[in-house]
């Protein structure tokens, strides 16, 4: 399956990590020097236990995975799907992936 179509930020991070041959959460964390993103944070995100992702963590993870952050935020390959990010205000209701990217 194309990782760009995965639903949920955790599945996208995991799919991209595997696609880019980064074998474990640990290996990904090792690509991010400093304590902003640790192995347990990566595990937590991939397990879906963490809805509260800091902007710095998103940027660090995207950089380490060598993808543009939008690939993590939305399932770009399913443009007509609804957004699947937690905690958005109701003004995002009905916004589709393609509108979000624009």
């Amino acid at each position: 399956m194309n990782f760009l179509a995965q639903a949920g930020i955790r599945d996208r991070i995991q799919a991209i990590r595997k696609q880019h041959a980064i074998r474990s959460a640990r290996a990904l964390a090792d690509l991010i020097p400093g304590d902003n993103v640790t192995e347990s944070i990566v595990q937590n995100i991939e397990a879906g236990g963490k809805d509260y992702l800091l902007v710095s963590q998103l940027l660090n993870i995207a950089k380490a995975l060598r993808v543009t952050p939008i690939f993590l935020l939305a399932p770009i390959a399913t443009p007509s799907a609804r957004l699947d990010i937690a905690n958005l205000s109701s003004s995002f209701d009905d916004m589709t992936v393609v509108q979000f990217d624009a």
Partner: protein, 199 residues
Amino acid sequence: MTGFVRQSGIGERIQAIRKRHGIRSAKDLADLMPGGNVTEAILQNLEAGRKEDLSVSQLLNISHALRVPPVFLLAPIGRPHDSLDLVNLSNTFEGMTVAEFDAWISGETNGTYRWRDLTERTERSQLEATRQLIASLRERHRLTTNMAIEAELTPPGEVSTDPAIWDTTQERLAEANRRIEQLSSYLTDAGWDLEGWVK
């Protein structure tokens, strides 16, 4: 006064944009995010520089309420050669300028930011293709409307059979359709799900 696109620090940029857009207080801005996770206190802390990192959903809620692209909050777009001023970034971001950051964020294929390998380029090309597809779909919509108007305005019997000097609407519409066809098959082959979107 310098434009809000030049302010350093995410809090300063939020404040400058808020004021520029005539939103008088942090409370007023918070009120624009119903059901969101950004309170007046959080905004005050951000604007005062007491809180420097925020969650992804907070960033999206704030930029949506301010009606600016998130990248305007993340970096001083008006100073492309400056270094980034975000906190907690890993040192792999060291030396990245605002212009490179913007290119990276938007996934430009030929931007300031150099992509390292083929996979990266492919992923970005697909993103680029979707954006072109969106533009072509819009173009098709516009041309279809034009065709209808032209047909209404041309009295029957006055349809010219001479070759036109410029591309006719019909030709441009056909071109848009070819482009849509091409881009959709490229993306569908790459595993994209265009169901319910490209009609």
